[in-house]
């Protein structure tokens, strides 16, 4: 069965969303928003890395900090693998540094969630504009 334009649109929006999740800024890159994607990539990745550096890899805790982990997971699927590494418990997390690290990595994830939604929305609006012209 041939794909309708609507199927194609859904597939494309899904691809934009998935790429935006896989690589911060990737969704915007796919819809030719190069400057925007660079700004998003640099900011989200830097915020996440600063959080990891301040609090150690142990701030990604899929067992004892599930709500924070859910937010951190929005950065990229790669966080899942970091969670599997930190689950061993060999990376210490404590004190103010742990709190700051957790906040930084989680906020980075939530910012990327905003970018995922924005990329999908922009792609949708563009496809609507193209359909009308």
């Amino acid at each position: 069965m041939a794909r309708t334009p609507k199927d194609h649109d859904t597939f494309f929006l899904g691809a934009v969303g998935l790429l935006a999740w896989a690589v911060p800024g990737g969704g915007h890159f796919l819809i030719n928003e190069r400057k925007r994607s660079i700004v998003i990539f640099v900011t989200v990745v830097l915020t996440f890395l600063v959080g990891l550096y301040v609090g150690s890899v142990g701030v990604i805790d899929p067992v004892n900090a599930k709500p924070w982990y859910a937010a951190q997971l929005m950065n990229s699927p790669a966080v899942f693998f970091l969670g599997q590494i930190s689950i061993s418990g060999q990376f210490p997390v404590y004190g103010r540094a742990g709190e700051i690290g957790q906040i930084y990595t989680s906020i980075a994830g939530l910012l990327n969630l905003l970018c995922i939604v924005n990329a999908v929305y922009m792609a949708h609006v563009r496809s609507l504009d193209e359909a009308h012209t």
Partner: protein, 94 residues
């Protein structure tokens, strides 16, 4: 090069030493910058360096002002509850 890489990677395995001092509140600033930059990156129609920097700077400023006002109000409420109410009631503070 290898030693530098190892040192850098080792930094990710142990937490930094950050005391619970007033100075540790400064860790808020980079986070505010990141939030403002990403938010504006999703909002502006075209990204042009000068306009983008101005809009982001404005947002950073407004967030910081709002945080300062909220902190002042909360400090006032805490001061009123812990100092003034016990004094009015004639009993000792907490």
């Amino acid at each position: 090069m290898t030693a530098l890489t190892c040192t850098l990677l080792a930094g990710f395995t142990t937490p930094m030493r950050i005391d619970t001092t007033v100075g540790s509140m400064l860790w808020l600033l980079p986070l505010v910058v990141a939030i403002a930059v990403v938010y504006k990156a999703t909002k502006v129609r075209q990204i042009e360096v000068r306009a983008f920097a101005r809009e982001t700077g404005l947002l950073i400023g407004s967030i910081l002002v709002f945080i300062a006002v909220a902190a002042l109000i909360l400090y006032g409420v805490a001061w009123f509850v812990t100092e003034q109410i016990p004094a009015m009631a004639g009993g000792p503070a907490f």
